[in-house]
């Protein structure tokens, strides 16, 4: 049993995040209203420090630490980095958006804590650890979603988010209890051995219950319903964050849990495959009729979660599963931030008809939408294409060709609604007034990820090479 003892060094990124979040809270308590804005600068520093401290985690001799409860493997490190980058971009988008909010300082504390929850999820190799990560990420998420206290829509979104979250987490805790009862341990590494003799039906029920809980964080069927509401109702930068960061952590922990199930097929592969199929199709079908760009992004984020689940299906059967999961999720997150970034930069403009003629009034924003949407569809040479290529290859190699075909069909479907936004942006006549824009920070939070999509699509080799060796405990 790999344990690795308790090395504080290997959780330095988490410690930095936690202390940083508390530090910013103290700062926000005592700083003058004018100085509140520096909380954003501080949080960027904290995120950078946390990312830098992953250096001490890379190359750990054991895949786990804290007696097998916490992973320090490749997937954990990459998950952390993606979540930290997501958070940093969300900070950029938030800076001007929350400029008039007197409580803006605390926002960054919550954001960092929420990121910490997602990071914990990405590293969790223990059932309790997983529950902890979900609770931390959710509890902060509810507040972030309703940060505009006077907005009825934000309140509605947060309420939906909260109720569904409570329900899903409840299911998950039941599942965790069942797993613990059958396996006699909460550690994934131990469960991998001890679940071997468990009753198949009981195991299926337990896994199903946990999957419901995780589907809430992933934004996948069956607990997906909050996504469009949060995308639409929450403050746009928070919508960008909440539809991205928790997904990364939850997908990785789901992969870990799946890998911990006994080798003899207990049916989790078909189960996840069906969830993936339903999620991507549902997300795309619902997105087809959206006229609100933010809701459309919400539904499209559901469908993207469906694609990502394909990697979990292929886990253990294809060497491409882990790298393509991480690559795809990374590409998705960048795209999501850039797309919401366009909305933020346009000061929350959401009706697609208001995007008429955007290519003439704001050519760079229109181009960003083209890049993001084509990356979502999987058009080369953008990062989304490389991720999707890996996903398709992994799924086919795992013997789930039908799922890959369905995903391809879904990609075609998704083009239809992306074009419903791009069409007016390029063909429509601009209205009399030019949409106002947000500012320099928001622009940076939009263009940086969009450019990254292009760079990571063309220069895919270094990243893919690094990911190819990434381990995922307990696989």
């Amino acid at each position: 049993m790999s344990s690795g003892g308790m090395s504080l060094r290997s959780v330095l990124p988490e410690i930095v995040l936690l202390i940083g979040a508390l530090g910013i809270l103290l700062f926000a308590l005592f700083a003058s209203r004018r100085a509140q804005r520096f909380a954003a600068h501080l949080s960027l520093l904290v995120l950078a420090a946390s990312a830098a401290s992953t250096w001490f985690v890379v190359g750990a001799s054991e895949p786990t630490t804290f007696f097998g409860a916490y992973a320090v493997d490749g997937a954990a490190v990459w998950g952390k980095l993606i979540i930290l980058a997501t958070t940093a971009l969300a900070v950029l988008l938030s800076y001007e958006w929350f400029a008039a909010d007197p409580r803006r300082g605390e926002l960054y504390t919550l954001l960092l804590l929420s990121a910490l929850g997602a990071v914990l999820l990405a590293g969790a190799t223990d059932l309790m650890e997983m529950v902890l990560g979900i609770l931390l990420s959710s509890a902060t998420g509810y507040v972030l979603a309703s940060y505009h206290r006077r907005s009825a829509r934000a309140a509605e979104a947060a309420m939906k988010y909260y109720l569904l979250g409570a329900l899903a987490t409840g299911f998950m805790v039941f599942g965790v209890v069942l797993l613990f009862g059958m396996g006699g341990s909460t550690l994934f590494g131990a469960l991998r051995v001890s679940l071997g003799g468990a009753d198949a039906w009981a195991l299926a029920v337990a896994v199903g219950l946990v999957a419901i809980g995780l589907s809430f964080k992933i934004g996948a069927f069956p607990a997906y319903a909050w996504v469009p509401d949060v995308a639409d109702g929450a403050p746009a930068p928070m919508a960008a964050f909440l539809t991205a960061a928790p997904k990364v952590g939850a997908l990785i922990v789901l992969a870990r849990l799946a890998a911990a199930l006994p080798a003899a097929d207990v049916g989790w592969r078909p189960l996840i495959a069906v969830l993936a199929a339903v999620t991507m199709t549902l997300g795309n079908l619902a997105a087809l009729r959206q006229d609100d760009v933010r809701r459309l992004l919400g539904w499209s984020s559901i469908s993207q979660a469906g694609y990502a689940l394909m990697a979990v299906v292929a886990l253990g059967r294809s060497d491409l599963a882990v790298p393509s999961l991480i690559y795809f999720v990374g590409a998705y997150v960048l795209g999501n931030l850039a797309a919401f970034g366009v909305v933020v930069e346009l000061r929350g403009l959401a009706d697609r008809h208001l995007y008429n003629g955007l290519s003439r009034t704001r050519p760079w924003l229109a181009l960003t939408l083209v890049v993001v949407f084509l990356s979502f569809v999987g058009v080369p040479p953008l990062a989304g294409f490389v991720g999707k290529l890996g996903l398709f290859a992994a799924t086919i190699e795992a013997g789930y060709t039908w799922l890959a075909v369905l995903a391809a069909a879904n990609s075609v479907l998704s083009l239809a609604y992306y074009l419903r936004v791009l069409g007016p942006a390029y063909l429509g006549q601009p209205g009399p007034e030019v949409a106002a824009t947000m500012g320099r920070w928001a622009r940076m939070g939009t263009y940086v990820p969009a450019a990254a999509l292009l760079v990571l699509g063309i220069a895919a080799q270094p990243l893919w090479h690094a990911l190819a060796g990434a381990g995922l405990f307990p696989l």
Partner: protein, 492 residues
């Protein structure tokens, strides 16, 4: 050198897009100048190309070695003629006058982008790279149709994009399937061609083959997956149609040769007859539907389906048996490749002329015209030459390729060839009817002020129709290039 053929227009696209909006003359000159670069390079490549079974002038750089992906380009007897065709069609289409709605930068930018992508498809020797350019060409074409099209352009463009994206995702899945069958995994075309990884039978090979066929049938297009083509052509601007018919459709038939025929010969043989039947259906169906059209552009679009059916018939015949009938199959394959070139030149010219007619008259309805030849002589002459070329008049390029395909295919599928000859007769009838309706007869009052082709338009027509004549009279130089590679494919 080959890389420059892709890189110059690609970089040019970005340069043009960043020029100041008002400098329309500079934009046009620069874009045209850049678009001619690949043509000049093609001449050099053609002179240096020595012929043979394997691709030459290979330029190769590792791209994503972790996935077996490389940047690799080269030319052989199949790709070189198509590269030349594309390198010619792009500059002349860009030069062709069109109302750009004040968006010169975007228009020339997209065309240069499209030129790079199209050349990339034909030059690529790596399946991954091939797919990248294949998809980029869709994106470019979508914007060209959507922005500068007329009629219900936005809708036609979406239909085009979604339809062909379906094909390209089928292509992607099939490429992945093929990739996963290689060992070690590679996207390298040459190594897959030299060691076809899949045996002919088996579900896996059949499914992968099906994926490729769906992709290429949509792109070519063959009936019954052609329905995106007529609206796309009718609503696209003239130069866009010329590129769509002249270059983009060839990607489908080129894929049939390069991928299905060369990389999966066993599987191809198993399904060759079915493919040939599909091709003949397209010939007859395309010709019949074309006969019923009153819209000039729609008529040409449907004749395209018939002509592309003929090309696919030649390819199917070439792969119809694995051994024997070497000469017949070689000739069929030569004819198919030549057919792509001649169709590209001729249909490119026809679509550009329809663009001119639309620019002057605002309609494509043939019944509203009549007697235009008396007013617009050059236009009439160009149309007559192009139409006769298209229906297969001896001495013009299409005749040579038609004869080669028929002669070659007759040895393999005699009955199908006889049936498809009916289609050729129909084509002759409908082109003659078109000429009569539009250009002959009494000139109507409203067309009294019809302008003839201007200098640029005439020059473009000459640059497309003179090669048609040259190939028709003296095709050997072109056929020899194709033949050296085709010979290796059929095992001669």
């Amino acid at each position: 050198m080959l890389t420059a053929m892709i890189a110059v227009p690609l970089l040019g696209a970005f340069v043009v897009a960043f020029l100041p909006r008002e400098r329309t003359v500079l934009i046009r000159r620069l874009a045209l100048g850049l678009s001619f670069v690949p043509l000049a390079l093609t001449l050099v490549v053609w002179l240096r190309y020595s012929g043979g079974p394997l691709p030459q002038m290979i330029e190769s750089v590792p791209w994503i070695p972790a996935l077996g992906v490389g940047y690799k380009v080269g030319v052989d007897g199949f790709s070189l003629p198509l590269v030349a065709l594309s390198a010619l069609l792009f500059p002349v289409s860009m030069a062709y006058p069109l109302d750009l709605l004040g968006r010169e930068r975007t228009y020339y930018g997209f065309f240069l982008f499209l030129e790079a992508a199209s050349l990339g498809v034909f030059l690529a020797l790596d399946l991954f790279l091939f797919f990248v350019f294949w998809d980029l060409s869709l994106v470019g074409m979508y914007f060209v149709i959507a922005i500068w099209g007329h009629g219900d352009a936005a809708r036609s463009a979406i239909k085009f994009f979604i339809y062909t994206l379906t094909g390209s995702l089928a292509l992607l899945l099939a490429i992945i399937g093929l990739y996963l069958s290689t060992s070690p995994h590679t996207f390298d075309m040459i190594s897959i061609i030299q060691h076809p990884p899949l045996p002919g039978d088996g579900l896996r090979a059949s499914l992968i083959f099906l994926g490729f066929v769906i992709a290429f049938v949509i792109k070519s297009p063959l009936a019954p997956l052609h329905t995106w083509l007529p609206p796309a052509h009718v609503d696209a601007p003239g130069p866009g149609s010329a590129i769509l018919a002249g270059v983009l459709l060839k990607m489908g038939t080129y894929g049939f040769i390069r991928i299905t025929l060369q990389m999966m010969p066993d599987t191809f043989r198993r399904y060759a007859f079915a493919l040939a039947v599909l091709a003949v259906i397209s010939i007859i169906y395309g010709a019949l539907v074309s006969l019923a059209q009153s819209n000039l552009k729609r008529l040409i679009a449907y004749t395209s389906i018939a002509h592309m059916g003929l090309v696919v018939l030649g390819i199917a015949a070439a792969g119809g048996v694995l051994v024997g009938a070497v000469d017949a199959r070689r000739i069929a394959l030569d004819g198919a490749t030549l057919g792509m070139v001649s169709h590209g030149l001729i249909t490119g010219a026809l679509f550009l002329i329809s663009g001119s007619i639309y620019a002057r008259a605002g309609t494509y309805e043939m019944d509203e015209f009549g007697g235009l030849a008396s007013k617009a002589r050059t236009m009439g002459l160009a149309t007559v030459v192009a139409a006769f070329a298209s229906l297969g008049l001896p001495g013009l390029a299409q005749f040579v390729s038609d004869v080669e395909v028929f002669v070659g295919a007759f040895a393999i599928y005699p009955v199908l060839v006889v049936i498809s000859l009916v289609g050729m007769v129909l084509l002759a009838a409908l082109f003659l009817r078109m000429l009569k309706k539009v250009f002959l007869g009494p000139l109507r009052e409203r067309w009294q002020s019809m302008r003839d082709l201007d200098g640029v338009e005439t020059a473009v027509m000459i640059s497309l129709l003179v090669p048609t004549l040259i190939i028709g009279v003296f095709p050997a130089w072109l056929i020899n290039v194709i033949d050296a590679t085709a010979r290796a494919v059929v095992g001669g």
